[in-house]
């Protein structure tokens, strides 16, 4: 290795040091996955590489991958706001669905921030689908969101409230269709979900008073 090459190599090492210092974490790279842990579907988003830590290797640090994900989530939700304001539910849903299916910082389970943002997003997509009459799709989103936030916190509470709203809409639709039996069951589900939402909120409030 000649002198210039050696200098370049050393400089590369120093710059790598800069990068390590800035990232604040020292794990390897991995391809992105979906919230389910599977590979992101081809074509759903630009592929990217991000930091991954084996369990117990290094604590999950707040890093650039997380910030990138949160920045993207903010933009997607803002865009959905605009679409909803103009009554374009399909466009809003398309963007939000892409966020859920797209790349995210790797980690299993995902970092709390990622789980909570995705859960909030799924609550929104569920509400949108339900408004459009797609109750089954809404319930799928809710089930997925609830699996992301098993903790009894504000995010789960919201998911339960949306669950109640979706069940209530289904109840109304079934009632209008004359399916009294199914409507009664949907109504019961709505009440149960709302009760659960209230119970979670009570727990959250009590926890803060301790």
């Amino acid at each position: 290795m000649n002198h210039d090459a050696a200098r370049r190599h050393r400089r590369g090492v120093v710059l790598l040091g800069v990068a390590v210092g800035l990232l604040g974490t020292g794990c390897g790279d991995a391809s992105d996955t979906t919230p389910d842990g599977s590979a992101a579907p081809a074509g759903t988003a630009a592929p990217s590489t991000t930091t991954v830590c084996a369990p117990g290797e290094v604590p999950l640090m707040v890093d650039r991958a997380l910030l990138a994900f949160l920045s993207k989530a903010k933009a997607v939700h803002r865009r959905a706001d605009v679409a909803e304001d103009t009554g374009d539910r399909a466009t809003a849903l398309a963007g939000l669905d892409a966020l859920v299916a797209g790349p995210r910082p790797v980690g299993e389970p995902p970092s709390p921030e990622v789980r909570e943002v995705l859960a909030d997003t799924l609550a929104r997509t569920a509400a949108l689908r339900s408004e459009g009459g797609d109750h089954a799709g809404a319930e799928r989103d809710l089930a997925r969101g609830l699996s992301l936030v098993p903790e009894r916190n504000l995010f789960r509470g919201r998911l339960m409230e949306v669950t109640g709203v979706v069940a209530q809409r289904r109840y109304e639709a079934l009632l209008a269709a004359g399916d009294t039996e199914a409507a009664r069951a949907a109504k019961k589900e709505a009440i149960t979900a709302f009760d659960e939402a209230v119970a979670i909120q009570d727990e959250v409030i009590r926890a803060t008073l301790k």
Partner: protein, 303 residues
């Protein structure tokens, strides 16, 4: 190492590490200068668009219509075309960077101070230097080093102001740049090699990228002072990482790890069933951006 020659002190650092840190500081500073000045038409460069807040390219109070020409002139490069206004602006900036203009805008003056710090960091040691820079750094940072009274006297006599400025800048007390601007500058400084077609580039401006490079140098030096990578023959990157692991953080310095975001929201105000997602994500993003900034400073060894 001269410290070894004098039989002093467990203060050791591979010369190559020190040199690399200086090289990086100089190189990245020049790249960062380009980034700070920015292209004249941000719309033409998506990377440079930013958010508009704290836009570095528009923040210096510089009125030159052609920033590339101004940059080239400031660095002493020949440019094909430039007008009188550009030449005046370049001369003004150069004077500020050289510390000859005290009446310039505060931001440029701050950059000039930091430029001095970078020059100090990048300058080669004079052959007759008796005090190793890492010894000076160690003493300036309050690290106990077993040095002779003579070395300590020389360290006391050495110019500390540039070092203090550098450390202040690394701690976020330097030129005002918001987090997004810092990040953008850093990305450009580390990710886009600058063409360096000759010219005397002694005068450099400190911005986010330069700050990062200098801070890395500081971290490397301090790692060496602490008997880290240089003493053990570890690569510099390992030395930095080990320093992070070695230093037990206090409560205020603890690295910010990933955690639930519920603390950001008032539990007495449950989320509405409909709406509010964008505001919530924005609040989470702001919080974690702050955490990332703290982690960076912690990684640099800044307390």
């Amino acid at each position: 190492m001269s410290g070894d020659k004098r039989g002093e002190a467990p203060v050791v650092l591979r010369p190559s590490v020190r040199d690399d840190a200086r090289d990086a500081a100089t190189e990245e500073a020049v790249v960062a200068l380009r980034a700070w000045v920015g292209p004249p038409d941000h719309a033409a460069d998506p990377d440079a668009t930013g958010t508009g807040d704290g836009e570095p390219g528009g923040g210096g109070g510089l009125d030159a219509p052609d920033h590339e020409a101004l940059l080239a002139l400031t660095l002493g490069e020949e440019v094909a075309q430039h007008d009188a206004g550009e030449r005046r602006a370049a001369a003004r900036l150069r004077a500020a960077l050289e510390g000859r203009s005290q009446s310039h805008e505060g931001e440029v003056r701050g950059l000039a101070e930091f430029a001095e710090a970078l020059r100090w960091a990048a300058a080669p040691l004079p052959p007759e230097a008796e005090v190793e820079p890492e010894v000076l750094l160690a003493l300036a940072l309050g690290v106990e080093a077993e040095v002779s009274d003579e070395v300590r006297r020389q360290a006391d006599a050495a110019p500390r102001e540039p070092l203090v400025t550098a450390i202040r800048s690394a701690a976020g007390l330097g030129p005002e740049l918001d987090e997004l601007a810092r990040r953008r500058l850093l990305r450009r400084a580390l990710g886009r090699p600058a063409s360096r077609p000759g010219g005397d580039r002694r005068w450099v401006v400190a911005t986010g990228g330069a700050l990062a490079a200098l801070a890395a140098g500081v971290a490397l030096w301090v790692g060496g002072v602490g008997g880290g990578g240089a003493a053990t023959g570890e690569p510099p990157t390992t030395a930095v990482t080990r320093r992070m692991e070695r230093t037990p953080p206090s409560a205020s310095e603890a690295a910010r790890t990933s955690r639930s975001t519920v603390e950001l929201f008032d539990p007495a105000e449950p989320f509405a069933a409909r709406g509010g997602e964008s505001d919530r994500v924005e609040r989470i993003l702001a919080s974690r951006a702050s955490d990332l900034r703290r982690n960076r400073f912690a990684a640099w060894g800044v307390r």
